[in-house]
């Protein structure tokens, strides 16, 4: 993801961010995407997410 792509995405989400803020944000977004890429390599086929709806 480039700075310009991040700026575009932020705009779609309704945020007009300064260049300084985008430059701080970009490495964090990239880091989280790298984390997700790594998690995709895990043997997760049998795993359901531990998210449970409970009627109060």
């Amino acid at each position: 993801m480039t700075l310009e792509e991040l700026e575009h995405l932020a705009g779609l989400l309704g945020f007009s961010l300064s260049r300084e803020r985008l430059e701080q944000l970009l490495p964090e977004v990239q880091r989280l995407r790298e984390h997700a890429a790594r998690l995709r390599e895990l043997p997760l086929d049998p795993e359901a997410p531990p998210l449970r709806f409970a009627i109060p």
């Binding site: 989400l13 997700a36 998690l39 895990l42």
Partner: protein
């Protein structure tokens, strides 16, 4: 006993002396209030001190005792409360901009439990903004300073609570822990911090950070005191359906027996890598102490441990952003620099990645539970390093804060992901006088054994008895 000795007394000692009429609750509370007046400006541990209410509550305890009634197991014990937990009539600020403050009418259930046991609330303690960070460098309230070296961070996000306990500004305190926020400041300030099993303590009336990772717990000077507070704090709450229904077993009487028959698992690799040499030496020394107490030390394998932090980062980012979304859209500029970056990043994580991280959580929880098949507890260092310096350059603040989060939560956040009880106890000091913590982790709902191991370690060492002298270390 002079005022300073009184302010460093254990919770159990204070409660028993008040109950025995050796001290009045009012004398105890006034001693702490006097010390807060003297010390807090240098530490910034408290946001608000509710002195008048504390004195009134202490008088009520004394009246009960005068009538011959039992004052409760915490009768007259002064506590500090992390300022994201509701205390009725006192603003909850959560370390945030003034526009986000609110004043609850009622106490959070956990506060009600403490009051019913006779505890006296001294005030609300400082924290990292909205509990989302580990430095406690807060643009709205100023930094909390580490009592062992005021130029250092106390760790966070419950840094005010840990600093208050370490400095003798309360007998114990409440913190919250989403990635290590009880254990990290306990490690860096030389206190005992317990993150209980997920759902052990009600989170109702508490400002959320990430619903599926948040825990409440005690910060104290001894393991026995942590056990005593846990016993009062834990249990089912009708206002929080997630809280566990079963009342907890008694935690506050850790066995005086040694650790014969206890198998301690040491997860080599990830949990000991990137560790400061003095932290490594202190934690290794602690293992020898535990072995001397009769425990068997065994290596265990957690092959995907390094992935736990990745799953936590995704889950935390998404849940925190979801919690704050409305405020972010209306008042982004009211958040500090590092909070803006932390909270904005959550908007850019697809929903599929959140579910992916939750599925990884299921895998890792199974793996961590399997590690307990041959051992009773796990032991690791609590943090990789002792307390870092307070970053004074606001331009570098956000980047430094984000880096420190990754560094300091490395060994703690896997147990938020897996929900297991984890205790930090003091296990030494670096050459520059900064405390080091040892983490003891148990099976779900086995706080009793975690506390027993911590207590046995304390019985064999003196680290938890050391007191800071605000720059003149002792």
């Amino acid at each position: 006993m002079n005022t300073q000795d009184l302010c460093f007394s254990s919770i159990s000692d204070l409660a028993s002396r008040v109950a025995a009429r050796e001290l009045t609750a009012l004398e105890v509370v006034r001693s702490f209030l006097s010390r807060i007046d003297q010390i807090n400006p240098a530490v910034n541990a408290y946001m608000v001190v509710t002195a008048e209410q504390a004195e009134e509550d202490a008088r009520r305890v004394d009246r009960e005792i005068a009538k011959g009634r039992a004052p409760g197991v915490l009768g007259g014990v002064p506590l500090g409360i992390k300022d994201l937990i509701d205390v009725g009539g006192v603003p909850t600020a959560a370390g945030a901009h003034r526009r986000f403050h609110y004043t609850p009418e009622r106490d959070a259930p956990v506060i009600s439990r403490l009051r019913r046991a006779g505890a006296v609330i001294l005030g609300k303690t400082n924290l990292h903004e909205f509990a989302y960070g580990v430095t406690n460098i807060n643009p709205h309230t100023g930094p909390v300073r580490n009592p062992w070296d005021p130029s250092r961070i106390p760790g966070g996000s419950s840094g005010g609570s840990a600093a208050a306990v370490a400095a003798g500004l309360c007998a114990g305190a409440l913190g919250s822990d989403t990635g290590g926020s009880i254990r990290i400041p306990s490690s860096l300030c030389g206190t005992v911090g317990l993150k209980p099993t997920y759902d052990r303590i009600s989170r109702a009336g508490v400002v959320a950070l990430a619903w599926t990772l948040d825990h409440l717990g005690p910060i104290t000077r001894t393991t026995r005191d942590a056990a005593l507070l846990l016993r009062v704090m834990a249990g089912a709450d009708p206002g929080d359906p997630a809280s566990v229904k079963a009342e907890p077993p008694p935690f506050d009487e850790p066995s005086e027996d040694g650790l014969s028959g206890i198998r301690i698992g040491v997860p080599r690799g990830f949990f000991w890598e990137r560790t400061h040499s003095e932290v490594y030496a202190a934690a290794t020394g602690a293992l020898r102490v535990l072995a001397d107490r009769g425990a068997t030390i065994l290596d265990v394998d957690l092959p995907h441990a390094e992935d736990a932090g990745k799953a936590v980062a995704i889950i935390l980012s998404v849940e925190a952003t979801a919690y704050h979304e409305r405020r972010l859209r209306g008042s982004l500029g009211a958040y500090g620099d590092d909070l803006q970056v932390r909270l904005l990043r959550g908007f850019f994580i697809p929903g599929t990645d959140y579910v992916l991280a939750q599925r990884a959580r299921a895998l890792l929880t199974h793996e961590f539970l399997s590690a307990f098949h041959g051992v009773d507890v796990l032991v690791t260092p609590t943090t990789t390093v002792p307390a870092r310096p307070i970053e004074e350059d606001p331009g570098a603040g956000a980047a430094v804060s984000l880096t420190m989060s990754t560094e300091l939560t490395r060994f703690t956040n896997p147990f938020n992901l897996t929900g297991m009880p984890a205790l930090s106890v003091p296990c030494g000091f670096a050459r520059d006088g900064l405390p080091i913590g040892l983490q003891i982790v148990g099976k779900p709902f086995d706080e009793a054994l975690v506390l027993r191991v911590g207590h046995a370690y304390e019985q064999a060492t003196e680290w938890h008895r050391k007191r800071p002298n605000f720059g003149h270390r002792s």
